[in-house]
């Protein structure tokens, strides 16, 4: 059986990759994708912990995280469409009308 630490380190690497994507990309869609990568890293950690303590709770929480991710994707993509309709671009640097 693979030790828990291996899964946690993999989860950390995936989470950092997602963070990197949010920082680096200049495209709203790719930033949303990076958030999905981060959510998946968290899911992996939950399931690895659940396996280690021998409880199914990890899987239940993963189920809820997937639901929240679906809702987030739906609202986020609707926002992207609304923004694109107004500005004809996906570059977040151009959405500055709320900047003070």
């Amino acid at each position: 059986m693979v030790p828990l630490g291996h899964y946690l380190i993999l989860s950390a690497i995936l989470f950092a990759t997602g963070t990197l994507g949010v920082f680096l990309r200049r495209n709203v869609i790719t930033m949303l994708l990076s958030i999905e990568v981060m959510l998946n890293a968290v899911n992996l950690a939950f399931i690895a912990f659940g396996r280690t303590i021998g409880s199914a709770d990890g899987q239940v929480i993963m189920f809820f995280v997937v639901t929240v991710a679906a809702a987030e994707a739906a609202v986020g993509l609707a926002l992207v469409i609304a923004l694109f309709r107004h500005r004809e671009t996906l570059n977040p640097d151009t959405f500055t009308s709320l900047k003070w």
């Binding site: 993999l10 963070t19 570059n91």
Partner: protein, 177 residues
């Protein structure tokens, strides 16, 4: 024993590589398709963790529903060629970009360091304290019982969340209501 580790490194490597490419590719279409590869590798890891239900959820909902939604939007907005205007971005953007990359790397190192540091003590204790019954974990009946008893309230709140998200998406994306 060795096959377990081998499978972990195989699918873990695929997941990390695909996720890195998701972040680094310029074309959002490639990013979406590579993210599906990453999800598939993670689903395989869930199976090695004795959670076939989580693996199936991952494939059907994530790779199936959510990624199709993303693909739809990428095609709808015709956004295949991102960052054409990156060159036209303000000159000061390079500094924050480098700082962001640095922050991401620091986060990765910090997380791995903390986990390795804690792993020596807690991993052993966790593994010794509980005897993981892997066959029971994969039992979908047990999962359903948990969802509708211990987590019944959270489950019902989830349905409200989905309705709110649905109405919100329609309101936001519609031209005029």
């Amino acid at each position: 024993m060795a096959t377990d580790l081998l499978l972990f490194y195989l699918f873990g490597g695929v997941a990390v590589l695909a996720s890195l490419l998701v972040v680094l590719r310029r074309n959002p279409m490639h990013s979406v398709l590579l993210l599906i590869v990453s999800f598939a590798a993670l689903a395989a890891l869930y199976i090695t963790l004795g959670s076939p239900f989580a693996a199936v959820i991952q494939i059907i909902i994530y790779a199936g529903a959510i990624m199709v939604l993303f693909l739809f939007v990428v095609m709808l907005l015709n956004a295949h060629k991102e960052d054409e205007d990156l060159a036209a971005a303000p000159k000061g953007a390079a500094g924050p970009l480098r700082a962001g990359a640095l922050l991401g790397v620091v986060l990765a190192v910090e997380l791995v360091w903390a986990l390795v540091k804690a792993g020596g003590t807690r991993d052993g204790a966790l593994a010794a304290g509980a005897s993981p019954d892997v066959t029971a974990l994969g039992d979908v009946r047990e999962l359903g019982r948990l969802l509708f008893t211990d987590y019944a309230f959270a489950f019902e709140v989830t349905s409200i969340l989905i309705i709110v998200a649905m109405v919100g998406a329609v309101v936001l994306a519609k031209r005029e209501i």
